[in-house]
């Protein structure tokens, strides 16, 4: 198999999800602290609660295909996170799952399709644009870069690194932005100078994807 191709297995995906729960738990206070000056101080708490439910549901859906697993993750988040994060992240995983229904392993093209469908879902539900100071500001550049680097025949792990760097930059780019969506938007100019909590949790989720795949495919 060339460096540019990789088979992502169901176990890669479920481990990504399990590790995401750990990462969000560890960063719960950090995300909540980010949500204080420009929100209502509950993002970390909500995401932690949501992914706790995801972890409890995973054993029940593990025997299904990847698409079905991701759709179940989406529904678990929709029914537990609440706020804006619930519908947004819930739709992200549900639409991502719809893009890969029936598959028990993924090509790199499938991975792009999955992330892109998730992003489109968020944009549709949130009616968001780039620059509104939201999770889209991290996810959109990340997916763009992943697609570009893989199309240019880059090594998959390298492409995932580039994707994560783009997500990180997108997250940091939200700092000077004026919020146009969500609770932060009520603050007007006081939202400037604060990093968006949704962009931060998105970055953490994508970083976990990189780390999971890198550690599991290291020997290959």
């Amino acid at each position: 198999m060339s460096k540019n191709e990789m088979t992502i297995t169901k176990r890669d995906i479920t481990e990504w999800l399990e590790t995401t729960a750990v990462v969000l738990k560890e960063n719960s206070q950090y995300l909540t602290d980010l949500d204080s000056p420009i929100g209502d101080a509950d993002h970390g708490i909500n995401m932690n609660r949501g992914f706790k439910k995801v972890t409890s549901k995973l054993p029940q859906v593990e025997d299904n295909d990847i698409g079905t697993i991701l759709k179940a993750v989406g529904w678990a988040l929709i029914t537990s996170v609440g706020g804006a994060g619930g519908p947004l992240y819930g739709t992200f995983y549900m639409d991502a799952g719809k893009a890969v229904v029936g598959k028990i392993k993924l090509s790199t093209n499938d991975l792009i399709a999955l992330l892109n469908a998730g992003l489109k879902g968020v944009v549709r539900i949130g009616k968001t644009n780039l620059g509104d100071k939201t999770m889209v500001d991290a996810i959109h550049p990340a997916v763009e870069v992943l697609r570009k680097t893989l199309t240019n025949n880059e090594d998959v792990i390298k492409a995932l690194h580039c994707m994560t760097d783009a997500a990180y930059k997108g997250m940091k780019d939200t700092i000077p932005m004026l919020a146009k969506k969500g609770r932060a938007s009520y603050l007007g100019e006081r939202s400037i100078g604060h990093q968006d909590p949704g962009a931060t949790s998105s970055y953490l989720i994508l970083k976990t994807l990189l780390e999971t795949i890198e550690s599991r495919h290291k020997s290959k």
Binding site: A41, D42, I78, G82
Partner: protein, 357 residues
């Protein structure tokens, strides 16, 4: 953090359990998913009204379930929107076949969760219409923001629509009434202190001893501006004039179009308050403000309205839409017509509001 609670993570559940024990003649409580509903639901021949939102605003919405107001209220975690499964199950229980009206406060989370719930309910054959409340004048425009938040007018809409539903208004007529109440209501709030979400353990923002936060919402989020503390008269003037001088407000919101079978964009306009208008004046405590202070605010509000030719024909004074222990107040002025006055006066029997029966 000093609170009258047990474990922070049990606050919502234990509150619901207490309510179920305290008001068994008015409400029942459903757990997993959580919601409070009328003990006599489903009420035949009547459109059911369901609302909800984050916990922490008590008595809204759970305290408004009963005759003449809500059929069900869905409480999320503190300051967090409830999830679609809550509204779906509630709608299934309270729907008597005449359909369900969702009264939704305009916060991105509430809007999205209630839209998802409406779509799910429709899949199960229940007619649902969603009407937004977006009355908070502190948010200046809607092009570059999420739009005005739903605050004080929510309580008034729930009462007025609740009475209308008892009178047999059909779903379409009820939705139109709710929209009318929304565009005729305007609110503005102010905080003297922050509040502490139990799970967070510390105040959502810090306010100095001599500072106030203007243009707050109801979730302990910071507002538009932070200024030095003023007297009650100055505060009342600030809030009241923001409302009275709020000129035509236009925005685009989404509602379900039953004919087309899809969500459509609707343009709404708030008419400006005019000399000679009859209003309901609602002076609301944010939760921590003592009863002795609200009438002081009302006293000045009355004077201002009189000067501006606004006739206060009804009022509501007290803690009705709160933010945990936040000290502060919000003012709502709702322009009333004869239909709304009659519906406001109609009997209501809930834990939070009760008259005429």
């Amino acid at each position: 953090m000093k609170k009258l609670i047990n474990k922070p993570e049990h606050v919502v559940k234990e509150q619901l359990e207490g309510i179920a024990l305290a008001y068994p003649d008015i409400v029942k409580v459903h757990f997993d998913p959580n919601f409070i509903y009328r003990a006599d639901a489903p009420v035949k021949g009547k459109v059911a009204i369901v609302s909800g939102g984050g916990s922490g605003h008590e008595p809204m919405h759970g305290g408004f379930v009963g005759f003449g107001m809500l059929d069900a209220a869905c409480p999320g975690e503190v300051f967090t929107s409830p999830t679609p499964d809550q509204m779906l199950e509630a709608a299934k229980i309270v729907n008597s076949g005449e359909g369900v009206l969702f009264i939704v406060k305009n916060y991105s989370g509430d809007v999205m969760n209630f839209e998802m719930a409406a779509d799910l309910a429709r899949e199960e054959g229940i007619r649902v219409l969603n009407i937004l409340i977006d009355d908070d004048v502190a948010v200046k425009d809607s092009l570059y923001t999420q739009g005005r938040r739903g605050v004080g007018t929510t309580v008034l809409a729930e009462k007025i629509c609740g009475a209308a539903a008892e009178r047999g208004y059909d779903l379409k007529k009820l939705a139109n009434l709710c929209r009318k109440v929304n565009i005729n209501g305007r609110s503005m709030g102010l905080a003297l202190t922050s509040c502490t979400v139990p799970a967070a353990g510390k105040p959502t923002f810090e306010l100095g001893e001599d500072e106030m936060e203007i243009g707050i919402g109801i979730h302990g989020e910071p507002g538009r501006k932070r200024i030095k503390i003023k007297t009650a008269n100055e505060i009342t003037e600030l809030l009241a004039l923001s409302i009275i001088e709020d000129i035509f407000y236009k925005r685009t919101i989404r509602e379900w179009d039953e004919g087309k079978g899809e969500w459509v964009d609707i343009e709404l306009e708030d008419p400006t308050l005019k000399h000679g208008d009859k209003v309901l004046a609602f002076v609301n405590s944010m939760g921590g403000t003592p009863g002795i202070e609200l009438p002081i605010v009302y006293r000045k509000l009355h004077e201002i309205c009189e000067k501006r030719g606004l006739k206060i024909i009804r009022n509501l004074i007290g803690p009705y839409i709160t933010s945990l222990e936040m000290q502060g107040c919000s003012i709502t002025l709702l322009k009333m017509d004869d239909e709304m006055i009659e519906l406001w006066d109609a009997p209501v029997k809930t834990a939070g509001l009760r008259w005429g029966m």
